[in-house]
Symmetry: C2
Amino acid sequence: MDLDLSLAAPGLTARLVDIESVSGSEGPLADAIEGALRRLPHLDVYRDGNAVVARTRLGRARRVVLAGHIDTVPVAGNLPSRVQDGLLYGCGGSDMKAGVAVQLRLAALAAEPGPDVTYVFYDCEEVEAERNGLLRLSRVRPELLAGDFAVLLEPTGGVVEGGCQGTMRAEIRATGKRAHSARSWLGVNAIHEAGRILDVLRRYRAREPEVDGLTYHEGLNAVGISGGVAGNVIPDECVVTVNFRFAPDRSAADAEAHLREVFAGFEVAVTDAAGGARPGLTDRAAASFLTAMGGTPRAKLGWTDVARFDALGVPAVNYGPGDPQLAHRADEHVPLAAITRCEERMLAWLSG
Amino acid sequence: MDLDLSLAAPGLTARLVDIESVSGSEGPLADAIEGALRRLPHLDVYRDGNAVVARTRLGRARRVVLAGHIDTVPVAGNLPSRVQDGLLYGCGGSDMKAGVAVQLRLAALAAEPGPDVTYVFYDCEEVEAERNGLLRLSRVRPELLAGDFAVLLEPTGGVVEGGCQGTMRAEIRATGKRAHSARSWLGVNAIHEAGRILDVLRRYRAREPEVDGLTYHEGLNAVGISGGVAGNVIPDECVVTVNFRFAPDRSAADAEAHLREVFAGFEVAVTDAAGGARPGLTDRAAASFLTAMGGTPRAKLGWTDVARFDALGVPAVNYGPGDPQLAHRADEHVPLAAITRCEERMLAWLSG
């Protein structure tokens, strides 16, 4: 399958949507992207699995990275793409083939950009973290991701979203002593004990710290609770699973220490953790990016792959034409005008 | 298989243990019991499924009912029976073939008892309530269970345990509003809301009321809790399953009204309920029974089949030679001397 990069980004988005690429099956789309990029003499192209990286080699003082995932959630009867009332409908159009189309257009058109540019197209973003193509690249070819500033073209509705918050899940365990429920006073009810864990959560006041000029908003919440042995047994264990969303001024280690302090007296087992990312809006490339895109940047509260760039020392923001509210929905769609606007603004920025 | 009712109760218990009768497979034992009882001319014998009922017809002013289940939990390598150091080992010996042996001996020996006597042998007590043979009899032949006082010969360690407490399970539901956990303030966390249910449980002070001279001890406990949608979702529902054990001065309807009052403001769904039983120790037959057995009676806290007699208007107590702590254990056993003592005392009572 050939990709014609002379198509403007809206038409190119439709082509990309029509090349099905559910996570794990990105091969044909990765081949098409690699083929199109290899036809551009100003780029060096690398392939790793179903990830493709293309880089200018102009010897500029600064390098920016533009990244996007090429996989989608499973198709939900929403292929092939169709256009209606200025909206392009189809699986992955918003999340995030519109962004990928903009990347490809920039790769084709910006032969002499102001900064050097690295274009990253990666696989398996919509599935478990361990399969994530950007994570794999950061392990096997970290030098390919190096830069001074990165933009992830995830759907943000055309607003710059800076950095991202970290996320940590932990199991907080209350214990007791089993007994027959007909003689409950012979036991200690672990579910009742877990009330003290819920007390902590109900009392908790989340911070709203400013980091690099953006205001984040933390949260500490139970996302699961489970306890009980049988209908006639006083239970000896109750586990509350909490999810802590923390601002990028805390590391994952800081976040864990905070959880252990908050739940002092209970067994705390961290089950997964991913650090956040500072927005890096004080970087020069970031500042010119902000000016070019316009609008007021906001803090990204959900965890995204910008954190992988942060881990490599590259500050990063999210910015893309899709609508994040429509991601993963059968009626997913993206306004053609938003794709055009994103393409124009980013091209102006890179050429500036 | 013939049962020789001239054997004293300890030897007869061993015979009964050796006729395997796991719940649902009581046929051979029910046949043996029916056959032995039909050879006793002073009794009318009835058969319903694997339940057998035998009644004297002496026209006495009062009638007592002696009841026991003939099924056991699954055999655990503990058959055939064996005697060691004065203890009879074997599946169901304590729970409750020792009691059944005493019933059979009384049926054979007490040809002219003081009150009329009804002997009830029933199936499927060790499995779900709907299969219980005493429940079935109470529906299809309630007149066979009529009486002024009933003794269930369940293992009580030779102590009279009066009546029983009722039990009710209910699901108390806390609700909220889903949101992504990265923006938790857009939702309402149902697990945190359930903290208020646990507050009620932690504050609850259980009654210890006296009923017919015995002191009961209520309890209201969470026996299960469950909530959570996914690790990144603020949950919109959390369900606490509570078990309310209530003294026999409350009916099941009273108990439900109490739960609804205690959990006012929450959705309360009663999932199962079984009323308790008053001990009826003010009944003349019960008083003479207490005198004959000796010792200090105590309240039965766990729910037992005496409640089925209460539902038919027959006050009832538990009294048997087995050890309730040993029920359902592979090393289940019963002291031969305890069986003899029970047989002697009950025979003296019936003859008095």
